[in-house]
Subunit: 795 residues, 2 copies
């Protein structure tokens, strides 16, 4: 049982303590503004001149003073209470703030030794910000202490909850801007508190920062009557604590009190759950912080109000190099923080400024939770032989691949019961995706009400289900970024809901891979199932295989796509992706009964190669190149290709057919384009340079062309795949509608192998007749042709 | 000023009226269950036998009785109050319910005459459901009265608000399932009531249907303490009305009362705003309806509770053909509705059943608002000459294209001030995207609090801004589907947030285009700006041009992509897309100053062709094919290609260069693949079959290969584009990082034109030197090279 934090109802801070907190805050504000404006003269040791000003003024001032206030006060409570804490900065465009605080506390210099904690380092800090070759303007991976960029907005709270899961000793503060609060994903994330276990998980403390404006508009939440906002937050299951104002001294006092109150309540709730066995869902605190946008910045510029309005969102004073009045205003503004009191003559922060800063890894910029790879342990993936399905003859028996995978995942879930560093997430689909074996090892996390009829709900469960792909993705990202493992199982069509989130995660990985101080984290693994070919019952809206296309547009160093064709290959792929680091792995696999093609040993070899010929399925005699290559990627296309090979073997026995199966899609790319890409030598050996290749692909057919267009054999490549033809129908009708069926593939072979069209007229007609028979049969019976439904490779 | 509906506090329904409402509800339940199970014997005129049962049992029973209840009671109030109403069925998988009601009220038979309102028609209705060649299982476009599929879940409330905008006489009911309510987009949509104008917009009445379970889990909202849920809904700005139970008679009475109360309140609020000038935001009612999942279905099956649990989500009784006990249970269940009381001997619904059904277009399946094309009027697009920028010489002057477009949009906004059938939506970016001229014609819709410092907020505004791409998209979809016009302006990178939503809209369009009774609607138009090449200030997270790839995966009949290279071409494209029907049009255009290349007349011709050579920019003499083609698509690539052409003209004057600009990306596709595709004859004439083509493209380079891989000249096609290399830097550094810059393009030409490498060694070195100079300069100055910043075509 994790230890509960000590309750610690501090007396209010003394005036002296408040004065020092204000000094820290002013120092951070000064550094934030300085980063936006200054190239030189960082301490204002001389009057400000145009040449001290950056030629391009870029950065977001508006949110920075509020973020600085939160940072200063978090420092105080972390130090006072000896907390392990992490903060997710939702308004990640407030990069100047988080950079300023990291530099003040010293964690920045530890990562970037050139940015010393003195005048030259301060000048570098300011100069590099938003400067070519310098640092980005947002809280990007380059920023110590961050797991969240905040560029796209919407995911801060989900990330915070993900970070808190299975970290019972961690406080995760989360600043939510009132702009971000308008997004759907953020609005949906509030209910994550129904999934937070006060025993095994840490606490999330949302700080809803209402500074009133977005880029150009007031924000919705800031313009609600206070009782309506209060009602909303109580409805979300929180106990709100309101702080607000524009007088720094009063706000410091109120914020210190609010944080003490919130942390006392958190300690109470955790103690009740951990020591007294309380099971009622706590009303977790939320702090509502109302301060002016661009607080302490210029009140008016050119006669227009700026502080407290949207005009301070980015750069309150523009054209400073050329506008002497603006230059003067900037100097007045910067000097209003009294830098001479905050930094000594060498530019070092004075003791008063640093008084609130905690030590070592308690500093927000130095917590290992924000560099999760440091905490990561290898996942105990068991031997696959314990889960493999026996395959004596290919294409004879069937298994549901995801159900077989479920047994493996259940073992991992069981083997991590004490470590608690593995979670499965999914939008209400774990059982629908046939992974329910995991429930034998862990129930579903649930802190809301229960009824006797419920099954598998578990206060301490590690399977996370909510009907929100956004929340599933956000939880898992937060969990992985803080050094744990997981898998997201999702209906294939609806994973597009998180297209933009995975974009941002891949961008994060691509950048963090290049930072030597960021340790590799576990890969983000998707299991896409209930896929396009077996959504015949839900129809057209549930049929979309395009996520793979989306992923393969991204940085090749960080993305992998696998289409295992049966149960054992799925096990092999799962083993690989669960052990991997710093990737986004997309695994597409079916949940419906599927022929077993490869034994476990064969599957291992095949998956290691990523693509290869299945000699047993073809009719080559080895004496010459084949007449045609039948290639496939995906479980249903593999079945149709094998059935087509079967038909060819029977009807055109002297045709030399090679069957190639592709598991790892990036193998098709040139080696120069992707680390998994085949050399031309390998590719040409497998696919030939001039023979027809009929490729049955799981998704949109042109993806295969886009991967293979540089290959010598590309003009002979003919791809079948999903072409947006779907409805509620039978499984085989789905492939017929999209011309991916066995009969069509045989016709494609006949049409494309030189000379065959004439020789095989009768066979071709037979295939066309079978398609006609299919059409008539399903309209009459509503089921697939018996000859299709009962087909096996060994028949 | 639109008329307010009459308040009409009806007395409670009589027992007789309730009995008839129950008869309607039972009839709908009977027909819904029958659709899932029956092939024949629709009236149970003989004992149920296995051969009456479908071989594949597909459909969602769980939500259907609740939807039927809502439908029955909406019928009552529509009839009693003579309302124009539309209902958005969030649980769209409850197709059996909406189909049943449409058949009962006769609107189904009007669209599908074979499905007569008698026994043969009933048999057809049941048989066709989820049957190959029949109708889909969801509330798809095939279903009369629907504007919402509900397959993906999350968008019902946004669609409902979109439908209500500028429809002051319309009531839009919206059933929100408690599963859907967990999604982010739905959670964010509740705040849409801060944008609903009680004067010019209609009313939205959300019905939150808590049946307690999703596929396999309880729902979060159903398991909150009632006061917490109540607080949440009040926080959303609603006044909740709670209805619940499992005794039909009691629920009928309560539901009738709840709807009367809600509609009275709506009438009060509208009257206060319309007749008394009230400006306070109304607390709109919401109905919370708690009824058991699978209500009236089998209570237990095989010893497990089913009614009231997740087990009734889809098909409560499985294997009915082969399981006599299940067959018996099914028969008992169906007979429990007493079909003999509901339908006459010929299968016609009896008078009692139809008593509540309104007449004509007041029927929910017959409202023209759900077939918006019927109501659509042409948008008054003014003459472009009023807005064109003068272009005497190409590449001399600059304009911000989106600002020029803003003037056109402002005119349209002004010219639709009375009609109110045009809206602009965007996530807080209208001004950031330089479209602020529209505010002269209409402010921003806003019903929350205001402050004196606010600008352009307008209770009656038709510009919709909220920081939620989901809500923007949902509003616009709802608005278009009900027969109006609009445009969504969005940062290019973040439009991926709605990837999945646009998928579903395209699927809707593709299907509805094939239904003769569905009239064409206005296209969904995106203006993607603040694009990848000019997000140098926000950095890597804001750089993603992949939406175009996503769109071009979809049904070619419904998607169009345009990349106008300057202000006048943007006007021409805008004119085209705003007049078009049934497409999703994606327009990518910059907001930063951009060279004017074409006069308005030239722009019209060029855009009509979609792609063409710019003779003035090349150095061909017409006597032979060019040595090289420099192609471009997008504003920044066009500028770089023109600058490269300029350099080639100066340094290699005898090289015959052709400059080709592509506006309409689908022109590159083969004609067989897309209606806009060029024939090979056209393509080869423009791009040659064997000369090097250096193609500078706005987005991911491989997209161009995927479009052009079938062309004869494809082996000579070399594409430059965005390859995920970005950060906070200068605009020109962005193109250099991605090898899209003018110097690199000249080097590409030298490397690829046969024989040129030797002859042009010095020129190539000069280009390489310029790139080195660039690197040094930006690190020193933080700005672009003066020779780049000051370049013009005519220098």
């Amino acid at each position: 049982m994790p230890e509960a934090p000590r309750q610690d109802s501090r007396t209010a801070p003394t005036d002296e303590e408040l004065r020092r907190l204000d000094a820290h805050w002013r120092a951070a504000n000064y550094l934030a503004a300085g980063q936006i404006y200054l190239l030189a003269n960082p301490l204002l040791t001389e009057p400000l001149k145009p040449e001290h000003i950056k030629p391009r003024l870029l950065g977001h001032w508006g949110t920075s003073p509020g973020l600085n206030l939160v940072h200063t006060h978090l420092n105080r409570v972390i130090k006072n209470r000896e907390l392990d804490a992490l903060c997710v900065w939702g308004p990640g465009h407030g990069g100047p703030s988080v950079l300023a605080n990291s530099w003040l506390e010293g964690s920045y210099t530890e990562k970037y030794p050139d940015a010393t904690r003195d005048a030259p380092g301060m000048e570098l800090l300011m100069r590099q910000f938003s400067f070519p070759g310098g640092v980005p303007s947002h809280v990007a991976p380059e920023v110590p202490g961050s797991i969240h960029e905040g560029g796209e907005l919407g995911y801060s709270l989900a990330h915070a909850y993900g970070a808190a899961l299975d970290n019972p000793g961690l406080l995760v503060a989360c600043v939510i801007g009132d702009g971000e609060a308008e997004t759907g994903p953020l609005a949906g994330s509030w209910h994550a508190n129904k999934f937070l276990d006060p025993v095994h998980d840490g606490a999330v403390l949302p700080v809803l920062h209402l500074n009133g404006y977005k880029i150009a508009n007031p924000t919705v939440l800031s313009r609600l009557p206070e009782e309506e906002l209060d009602s909303l937050l109580r409805g979300y299951g929180h106990e709100p604590i309101h702080v607000g104002g524009d007088d720094p001294a009063a706000v410091h006092r109120a914020m210190a009190h609010a944080l003490d109150t919130a942390l006392d309540r958190i300690a109470d709730a955790q103690r009740a759950a951990r020591e007294e066995g309380a099971t009622e869902r706590p009303r977790w605190p939320v702090i509502v912080l109302r301060t002016p946008k661009g607080w302490t910045g210029p009140a008016e510029v050119d006669g227009e109000p700026v502080e407290g309005t949207w005009r301070s969102h980015q750069v309150p004073l523009s054209g400073v190099r050329d506008n002497p009045e603006h230059l003067r205003q900037l100097e007045d503004w910067l000097r209003s923080y009294r830098p001479e009191e905050l930094f000594d003559a060498d530019g070092r922060p004075v003791a008063d400024v640093l008084d609130c800063v905690p030590e070592g890894t308690r500093r927000l910029g130095a917590t290992p939770h924000a560099n999760g790879g440091l905490l990561l342990r290898d996942l105990p993936v068991p031997s696959l032989d314990d889960f493999a399905v026996p395959v004596d003859k290919p294409g004879t028996t069937t298994h549901e691949p995801t159900r077989v995978l479920g047994d493996l995942l259940a073992r991992i879930m069981r083997d991590t019961a004490d470590r608690r560093d593995f979670r499965l997430v999914g939008p209400d689909e774990t059982a629908s995706n046939r992974l329910q074996a995991v429930f034998e090892a862990s129930g579903k996390a649930w802190q809301a009400g229960t009824l006797p009829v419920d099954e598998d709900l578990d206060r301490h469960g590690r399977v996370m289900e909510i009907l929100s792909e956004h929340l599933c993705q956000g939880w898992l990202e937060g969990y992985l970024l803080t050094g744990r493992h997981g898998l997201f199982s999702c209906y294939e069509a609806f994973v597009h809901i998180v297209d933009s989130m995975v974009n941002q995660h891949i961008k994060w990985l691509r950048t963090s891979r290049r930072l030597p101080w960021r340790a590799p984290i576990a890969s983000l693994n998707y299991l896409l199932t209930s896929h396009v070919w077996r959504q015949d019952h839900n129809g057209f809206s549930h049929q979309d295989p395009g996520f793979v296309d989306h992923i393969l547009n991204k940085s090749p160093e960080a993305v992998r796509v696998y289409l295992p064709p049966d149960a054992n290959t799925l096990l092999s792929v799962a083993d690989h992706v669960l052990r991997s680091r710093d990737y986004v792995n997309v695994v597409v696999a079916g949940k419906q009964p599927c022929f077993d093609w490869l034994s476990m040993d064969e599957a291992r070899v095949h998956c290691a190669r990523g693509a290869g010929a299945w000699e047993w399925a073809g009719t080559e005699d080895g004496s010459r190149e084949p007449d045609v290559v039948l290639a496939c990627a995906g479980d249903v296309p593999t079945q149709e290709v094998l059935a087509a090979a079967h038909l060819l073997r029977r009807h055109l026995p002297d045709l030399a057919v090679r069957v190639v199966n592709v598991v790892d899609l990036a193998r098709l790319l040139p080696r120069e384009e992707h680390p998994h890409g085949m050399s031309d030598f390998e590719y040409d050996g497998l696919f030939t340079t001039d023979k027809p290749v009929i490729f049955a692909y799981h998704g949109y057919p042109w993806l295969i062309h886009r991967l293979a267009y540089r290959r010598a054999g590309h003009p002979q490549l003919h791809v079948r795949g999903y072409k947006e033809s779907g409805t509620t129908t039978t499984p085989f009708d789905m492939v017929v509608r999209n011309d991916l069926d066995r009969y069509r593939l045989v016709m494609d072979v006949i049409d494309r192998v030189p000379g065959l069209a004439v020789r095989a007229t009768a066979v071709r007609q037979r295939m066309a007749d079978a398609r006609t028979r299919h059409h008539d049969w399903i309209r009459e019976h509503g089921t697939d042709l018996p000859e299709v439904a009962e087909w096996t490779w060994n028949a």
